[in-house]
């Protein structure tokens, strides 16, 4: 489904032909534009809102938008890491929800230890996803669709279909939401911090280099001795971990968790944020710092819609148009490539 690497080179294998200069220049410009698009889209939206109705950009507006953005941002960051290796993780939002429920259950008896336990658990769940894909060689889309369904059921079993309130030790987690810096909750700033860390991983570590190489050309990476199976497991584990952080920020905000409550429908916003953040669905291209803008854009859309006077009902419509527009405008494509 996301494969365009192999076939797209078929026609390019003519010996000795170098790209014409103009093609190279065009290529360069596209790269620059797609790198700048996510912040530009976000800034354009902010400008639009401030022109239409600057009241929405007050402390309350920022506080709401960043709080909404925080869990989406965590999921989008994890998703963009998976997309970067050329796969997809449809189960990450379900992991987040399960993590949130278990955190709500574990906090009262375990206190701080609950964080460690839950984050470890979601990381293992992610790693299992990666291991099955790597060893059984199944498509990630179908596999994570399966784990998504299983995890949803697990969430129902764990919660008994009830809302789980954090009865004790609630302050341990709610502080992450209530403590605000520049009107944005601590969870949001943790998101920024992890984005920076992921950016460093991708740019300055062997692991990150291997991840991107794998997403750009998995066969080529395999033949260059990149341990693709291990890289895949680590990437999915990371996605699980980020899902855990998303779950944490949900509990921090709501003080409770339920299988159908806050955060139960974050899979698509997470993917949308990753895509609006400039991550390529066909792999090998992402920038976690831009994904932050993708998350912010998705988080700000409700406010922007209100500022435009459209009413909250237009939200989905605007998301849809945004996704298509941003990706259509920023995709680098060549005439011969086969896009599925």
């Amino acid at each position: 489904m996301i494969d365009m690497t192999e076939k797209s080179f078929e026609k390019a294998s003519t010996p000795g032909i170098s790209e014409s200069e103009s093609a190279v220049i065009r290529f360069g410009q596209k790269i620059a534009w797609s790198a700048l698009a996510p912040p530009l889209v976000f800034i354009a939206m902010l400008l639009g809102v401030s022109i239409l109705n600057s009241n929405y950009l007050g402390p309350l507006g920022i506080s709401i938008a960043t709080a909404t953005a925080a869990p989406i941002m965590f999921l989008a960051l994890g998703q963009s890491m998976v997309l970067n290796i050329g796969s997809i993780d449809l189960s990450n939002a379900a992991i987040a929800l399960l993590g949130a429920l278990m955190l709500a259950l574990a906090l009262p008896p375990l206190g701080v230890g609950a964080f460690v336990l839950i984050l470890l658990l979601v990381t293992i769940i992610g790693a299992i996803n990666g291991a099955i894909i790597g060893y059984a060689q199944v498509p990630s889309f179908a596999l994570t669709l399966g784990t998504l369904a299983i995890l949803q059921t697990a969430a129902l079993v764990v919660s008994g279909a009830d809302t789980i309130y954090v009865s004790e030790n609630r302050e341990l987690v709610s502080v992450l939401f209530e403590k605000q810096i520049l009107n944005a909750p601590l969870t949001f700033w943790i998101g920024i911090l992890t984005a920076v860390i992921l950016w460093v991983v991708l740019r300055y570590t062997i692991l990150g280099q291997n991840m991107t190489a794998m997403g750009k050309n998995e066969l080529g990476a395999t033949l260059s001795a990149v341990p693709t199976r291990r890289v895949r497991i680590i990437t999915y584990a990371l996605s699980g971990f980020m899902g855990g952080l998303a779950g944490l920020s949900i509990v921090a905000q709501a003080g409770s968790a339920s299988a159908s409550g806050l955060g139960s429908d974050l899979l698509l916003p997470g993917i949308a944020a990753a895509l609006i953040g400039g991550t390529s669905i066909s792999g090998g291209q992402t920038n976690p710092l831009n994904v932050v803008f993708g998350g912010l854009t998705v988080g700000f859309v409700p406010i922007a819609i209100q500022a435009m006077g459209l009413g909250a009902q237009a939200q989905s419509l605007v998301y849809g148009i945004f996704i298509i527009l941003v990706v259509a405008l920023t995709t680098v494509r060549s005439r011969d490539s086969i896009i599925k």
Binding site: P15, G16, I17, Y204, I206, N217, P227
Partner: protein
Amino acid sequence: MEAPTVLKLKDISRTFGHVSAVRSISLEIRRGEVIGLVGENGAGKSTLLKILSGVEQPDSGTMEINGVPVSFRSPNDAVRAGVGVVHQEQSLFTNLTVAENLDQRNAGRIGYKNWARVNNECVAALKKIGVSLDPTTRVSDLSFVDRQMVEIARAVSIDPNMTGTPLIILDEPTAVLEQTETAVLEREIRKLKEIASVIFVSHRLDEIMRICDRVVVLRSGKIVSDKKTSEVTKEDLFRDMAGGVSQTAHAIRKRLPEGAKPAIEVHELARKGKFKNISFTARPGEIIALVGSNASGREAVARAIFGAETYDAGTIGVKGKRVLRWSIRKAVQAGLAYLPAERKVEGMIAGFSATRNIALVYQGDGASGPFLKLRKLAEAAQGWFDRLEVRPNTISRPLINFSGGNQQKIVLAKWLNSPYTDVLLLDHPLRGLDVGAAQTVNAEIVKACENGAAVILIPDTIEEALEMADEIIVMRDGGVSARHDMRKTNNLTVQDIVADMV
């Protein structure tokens, strides 16, 4: 009365960058003629075929089909003019039936599909070439030779309403066939004469002599001989293909002392359907060339040694130790390097910068722990750019934007960047390279040998093997058909080796 001319080429030329692939070729083919087209790899055969089938356009020259001047802009144009090609790699939809694959006339439609008619036409088309296959069979269920028949039937049935004679091009149709299958195919090709003109490309001269009326020999992009089959012998053809040069100057390089411990020992290696009983030893400083046609199995042997393909029987030893549970990772850790023939798809990460490509396998002091020092990596890359004269001299440029020769230099640099690399598996290292880049790459190979590396080379041409190798192992149909120790022979010729190959 002479039969009418079906194909007429006049002064066709095509260059890629600095390489002249096809130089001023003029050729006439008459109705009912079967022309054999031979020449070594790189002689220009494939470029000529691409021009005839509309994949490439000539830089100059004219082309006439059935007396009408043509210029093909796409493969479709060629099909419409009556040129049908049977490719080396099959171009059938494996998930559809035989009849559907033959049904080219309806390719542009989307409406009602008259199965009865499609199937009946298929039976007719197959009958035309004397084959009976069930038209409703799924192509993936057919044997290779049957698929080849379907391709031929398709090439023949290009347009039933066409008035002229179709020209059928068979590009090494027998390369992967068993002996008995080949016999069937030969019989079919002879039948084709009645309805078409045929260009038959093959490495196997025996076949050419049996099937063809005329043989055209290509060398370095030119036609060097064009004679009736009855007037030539196999030996003449060998000589024409090799260019009359009976011997090539052997590259002079510093010898390492004999008797060093073997870097690679392959013993009775086999994989069902690919290769069998392959044994050889490569010592540090030695170059072993695996020579053979495309279907000889030599690529698969190289990949098995690198851990990229499995093998069923036999053993691989690296530096005196037999390997177990072999994998690419272990091979690279043991010092092996592999330069694949499909450079763009397998050899490099096209969208990555040159720096990142070079740093993919080994980072040296460009890494501390898990972290990369980008400045150090850039320095290392710049070092390679200077040493190999990579142009343009921009290490941050994505590899896709370099020419083939410069890409290959960078791919080689990726492996040589590691001080531990001491076995090089080189699959067509010079493919598509211009002379300058080829010299640079060869010089690096020789230098690596002098520094103690063992090289297993799958060369583009036999000259390349004669020039570089210490030992030449000739492969045919998956097995070893001859061995030549170049340190002991000094009068081995290209003809001798070609004779072992076919």
